[in-house]
């Protein structure tokens, strides 16, 4: 009697253990979408019982881990380069999950309305060519605003970051000098400025330093109640970042079939120009290592949910939604996942 009971207990425990193993999905990578993913995964768990463990370790580390197949999916703010994908043992797919906007936040005493910037002015500030707030270039964009003669304290990221990548990508498109002298990357050789760690670090320094300017993700500027300026887009319109204009950025750009594309300096008339996708990256062929079909299916369901139902959580947390056309492309990419050559 006792024996059967113990045996039964053992069976039950192993059964639940294997079930739990199948229903835990692991991911790692970008820290920018972490607040959104935390919310999404908590909701997903209460809906389906599947728990997702996401480590926000940075885009680069995420790419490394998916290449080494130590996680089910990676999060990254910038798509992997062709060269980086070659190092992976299988074909990698990218799917965007949200759109982020990078804003120029500042601390200029006495200025109450949002300042206007152009890409050229931002590039010149970050190149160290515009050094005081009452510089002609800034003043002529902001008629009627009394700008102080304060020196500009340029604040930027000290750690490698997808936010830096997006900002530099935009500056490279609007300033030839930036493109030639500095270029695009997660870490740069900065001509000027003081580095701070993380979006919150940059926001903190800007907040406590009169005369400072720094680029941060929209959500951090809002959380820290930092004023941020509008940026003139390609059509010549001054746009203040918000979820709508950021989402429009994806509608002025031709999205390729694999969705690996830069959204900065979008051609859409009302788009905010410094915007980008944040991606999840995973393998097209899911049968590798000792993965089961159930695991592959669980991942596919999660990803599909993230680009459809999960999108409802984006705007509440200040991430822009994927436009319907992009969400459709994303669904098609996810549908192309296979297990042992068969569609899932």
């Amino acid at each position: 009697m006792k024996k059967t009971f113990l045996l039964g207990l053992a069976l039950v425990t192993t059964a639940t253990a294997s079930q739990a193993a199948a229903q835990t999905i692991t991911g790692a990578g970008a820290s920018f979408p972490f607040p959104l993913y935390s919310k999404m995964f908590a909701e997903y768990r209460s809906e389906t019982g599947v728990s997702v463990n996401y480590q926000s370790v940075g885009s680069g580390a995420g790419q490394k881990q998916i290449t080494e197949r130590t996680v089910d999916f990676a999060g990254s703010d910038n798509p992997m380069s062709d060269e980086a994908m070659k190092a992976a043992p299988g074909k990698l797919l990218h799917v965007p999950t949200a759109i982020g906007a990078v804003v120029p936040a500042y601390n200029v005493p006495g200025v109450t309305q949002p300042l206007k910037f152009t890409g050229k002015v931002l590039a010149d500030i970050y190149l160290g060519k515009i050094r005081t707030w009452n510089d002609k270039a800034i003043a002529s964009l902001n008629p009627g605003v009394t700008l102080p003669g304060l020196p500009i304290t340029v604040v930027r990221r000290s750690d490698g970051s997808g936010t830096t990548y997006v900002f530099a990508d935009y500056l490279s498109k609007v300033s030839a000098e930036w493109r030639d002298k500095v270029g695009v990357g997660n870490s740069l050789q900065w001509p000027t400025g003081t580095g701070a760690r993380g979006n919150d670090g940059v926001a903190g320094v800007v907040k406590s330093t009169p005369g400072a300017i720094g680029y941060v993700e929209l959500v951090y500027a809002k959380q820290n109640k930092l004023p941020f300026g509008s940026v003139r887009n390609r059509a010549g319109k001054d746009v203040l970042a918000d979820n709508g204009p950021a989402s429009l950025a994806a509608q002025g750009v031709v999205i390729p079939a694999d969705t690996r594309v830069s959204l900065t300096n979008s051609a859409n008339r009302d788009a905010y120009p410094i915007a980008s996708f944040t991606y999840v990256i995973f393998y097209a062929e899911q049968k590798y290592g000792n993965r089961t079909e159930a695991q592959a299916k669980a991942l596919k369901n999660l990803l599909t949910w993230m680009v459809t139902k999960g999108q409802a959580y984006n705007e509440g947390l200040d991430y822009a939604k994927l436009p319907p056309a992009v969400a459709n492309k994303a669904r098609n990419i996810i549908a192309s996942m296979t297990y042992g050559g068969k569609k899932l």
Binding site: A84, S158, G162, N186, S187
Partner: protein, 335 residues
């Protein structure tokens, strides 16, 4: 009955000999684990940094450009940054540490000496992220306010503009070296200040212990000659204790060289030549902390690891040098 009892140790001798051998083997194994860890870490660091070292050769440690975009990596600036912050912090902290050790060991009454000594040791137990936050939220604003006061004078703003032209061309003058480059309070100076506080307890507590260990005969002999308290300290105590104090200094230097988080939070991260005391700089450890997580290109990642290898050898070299210095400074007759 009359037969003498066999001495018991004889029967136990083989067991004791056996356990001796076992213990010897155990100790040997444990000791070789340490050596193994050392060798393994050199091997791992070397293997990971090989792509960078193959690409740039040893000029990796003498080149000044660190540009992740163009894929040019040279660690000279971080090497200098590490040495400058550590040595400057040492110069500031050693007099403070020795003074506090002398106070605790020689001057303070007992009811004061114990709590003060305890508090100094407590400084060593504070995690470095706490120091970093303290520097960022308490000291940086204080320095920032001073810098704002500096910029309130239009003449200084003109001076700053002149200096910035000079800095942009990669030069500096003695005057410009002390002109703030921004007013957020962060930068090289703040990193040195925070390192000074962080390494203080190491030197101070070691110095206090070795000063207490100076034999009473030494002092009494000196007093018997009619020496004043200061003469006793400067002629009898400090010379006797200097080797031990230097040991504490080395310990502090080791910590300063490798300190990562607090420095990375406040140093302002610039891989340019150090042009102003108040401007940004970077150390090898701070660049590793900042760039390793997001280094996507193979060469970039490998270069960051090569920084680690450089830091490893720098620490070994500094420690070796320190041992030589201590051996020379130790007065004869002291073990």
């Amino acid at each position: 009955m009359n037969e003498p009892v066999r001495p018991r140790p004889l029967t136990r001798a083989p067991l004791s000999a056996r356990s001796d051998r076992t213990f010897q083997g155990l100790i040997l194994a444990l000791a070789s684990v340490i050596v193994l860890v050392f060798v393994l870490s050199v091997y791992q660091l070397g293997r990971e940094s090989w792509p960078a070292l193959r690409e740039f050769g040893l000029s990796f440690y003498t080149e000044r450009t660190w540009n992740p975009v163009s894929g040019q990596f040279g660690a000279a600036q971080m090497l200098i940054g590490t040495l400058v912050t550590s040595l400057a912090a040492l110069v500031l902290s050693v007099p403070l540490a020795v003074a506090s050790a002398l106070f605790v060991a020689e001057y303070a009454p007992k009811w004061l000496a114990n709590p003060v000594g305890y508090l100094i040791e407590l400084l060593a137990a504070v995690p470095s992220v706490v120091y970093g936050l303290w520097a960022l939220f308490v000291i940086a604003p204080i320095l920032g306010r001073w810098q704002q006061g500096f910029f309130a004078d239009p003449a200084n703003v003109a001076l700053y503009t002149r200096c910035q032209d000079l800095w942009n061309s990669g030069q500096t003058t003695l005057q410009c070296f002390f002109v703030p480059s921004a007013f957020d309070g962060r930068g090289l100076a703040l990193a040195i200040i925070i390192l000074t506080v962080m390494i203080l307890p190491y030197t101070a507590s070691v110095a206090r212990d070795v000063i207490r260990l100076v034999p009473a005969d030494q002092r009494e002999a000196m007093y018997a000659l009619g020496a004043t308290k200061w003469e006793v300290i400067s002629r009898a105590i400090l010379p006797y204790a200097r080797a031990g104090i230097l040991g504490g200094v080395i310990l502090a230097l080791g910590r300063a060289l490798g300190e990562t988080l607090a420095v990375a939070m406040v140093i302002g991260d610039s891989q340019e030549i150090i042009k102003s005391l108040w401007g940004g700089a970077s150390t090898m450890a701070s660049v590793i902390a900042n760039q390793f997580g997001d280094a996507q290109e193979r060469l970039h990642r490998s270069s960051v690891v090569a920084l680690g290898l450089g830091l490893f050898f720098l620490s070994v070299a500094v420690n070796f040098l320190a041992r030589v210095v201590i051996a020379r400074l130790t007065p004869k007759g002291i073990q």
